[in-house]
Assembly symmetry: C2
Homo-oligomer: 230 residues x 2
């Protein structure tokens, strides 16, 4: 139906836009998200505007139309279900599935997608904690705060990781900092721009504020079933 290129522009535009999707996304931003030169993006965007998939304001930027958003959500759904499948069923590492899914998301049929979804028992989040849009085109828009906003002495649990860098993901897994895992914030040094974390089931680690900003968390309200030293 739509080409891989078209699907990629729509998906990246969706991922770049902010929640409501009202604000314009600058062309340069879209171009670099898609990985093309600005001139290429301008050309493609004119075609997509022509097809009614997005609104284009020259020298202003772009915004998805409802039709474009629907298509983008479908691509995101495919991407995230595929990632979940690769981890849960094929046993790949969460650090390597993003790249695999980049290609597969454009060729998996709805037939196969829904079979996979069913086998996985309709997951709500992918291995990185990203919400999976439903087949009907809705998506959980709950906002989470980043670890970087928390102070020392707080207990949180990891909800989502926004950085797909394989090395970083492997680092997080090694330190027990995956979605669903709990962490105590042991210290925070504003001058060094670093935070020291004590993962529930790992050893303390210090990470920079920049990376901490990529980790979304939720305040750990109910006490975790604390593992007791015997």
């Amino acid at each position: 139906m739509h080409s891989t290129a078209v699907e990629n522009y729509l998906k990246h535009l969706f991922l770049e836009q902010n929640d409501d999707g009202e604000e314009l996304v600058a062309m340069g931003r879209l171009a670099s998200a898609v990985g093309v030169t600005p001139g290429t993006a301008t050309t493609m965007v004119k075609t997509l505007a022509e097809s009614g998939l997005l609104d284009y304001e020259p020298r202003g930027g772009v915004r998805l139309t409802p039709a474009g958003r629907k298509l983008a959500l479908h691509v995101v759904r495919r991407h995230r279900i595929i990632e979940t499948f690769l981890v849960k069923v094929l046993g790949l590492d969460w650090s390597e599935v993003h790249d695999e899914a980049e290609d597969l998301e454009h060729v998996i049929s709805d037939r196969v997608l829904e079979k996979i979804d069913q086998i996985l028992n309709h997951p709500e989040r992918d291995p990185h904690g990203d919400p999976i849009p439903t087949a009907r085109g809705t998506i959980d828009t709950a906002e989470h705060e980043s670890l970087a906003t928390y102070d020392a002495g707080t207990d949180v649990s990891v909800v989502r990781v926004l950085d797909q860098d394989p090395e970083f993901l492997q680092f997080l897994a090694r330190h027990r900092l995956r979605p669903g895992q709990r962490v105590a914030i042991q210290g925070r040094d504003e001058v060094a721009e670093a935070m020291t974390l004590r993962p529930e089931s790992g050893n303390p680690v210090t990470i920079g504020i920049g990376k901490a900003a990529k980790i979304l968390v939720r305040a750990a309200t109910d006490a975790a079933p604390e593992r007791r030293e015997s």
Copy 2:
């Protein structure tokens, strides 16, 4: 690495060529296998010959080089493992997996392919009985006779089905004529060009010689554990 188009030309050339791969495949044949006009095939073939993937004799035809054959086998391997996976793991019907695999065969990484192969426990044949090339590029070239060559009174078991038509595959499944299943040849009418079969676990059916030719079988040497009427 290679485009979908290139992979398709090589795969279809492999499938059209005869066992040894020594004979030239006519351009018209390749073109219609790939589904393009003859002129398009000529152009592409010149490019592939340039890349050393096939030998091209103008107005004679084409033949895979060892490099082309290796690549073709890899695509065939992907196709057949994907088909097997779709049937065995995702539970799709054997009549619908061929089309799905046509696209997937060009985007599945080796990483994912080998994971799937491992989960399937290194299958030797796909759901249609087609042999699966190994990762090292060898393929079972055992020849099987077609059902059309057998006479009435013979007992055979289905090995492979060469026709991918979904309706035909569904027909075969309904009548218990899948690879691995046994059939007695009840009658054969040369004038009507029809054969009447009695599948071990189904009701008798009559099929045309043309369709019988698409069903490869093996003489049922050791007596099947005959189900006895109680």
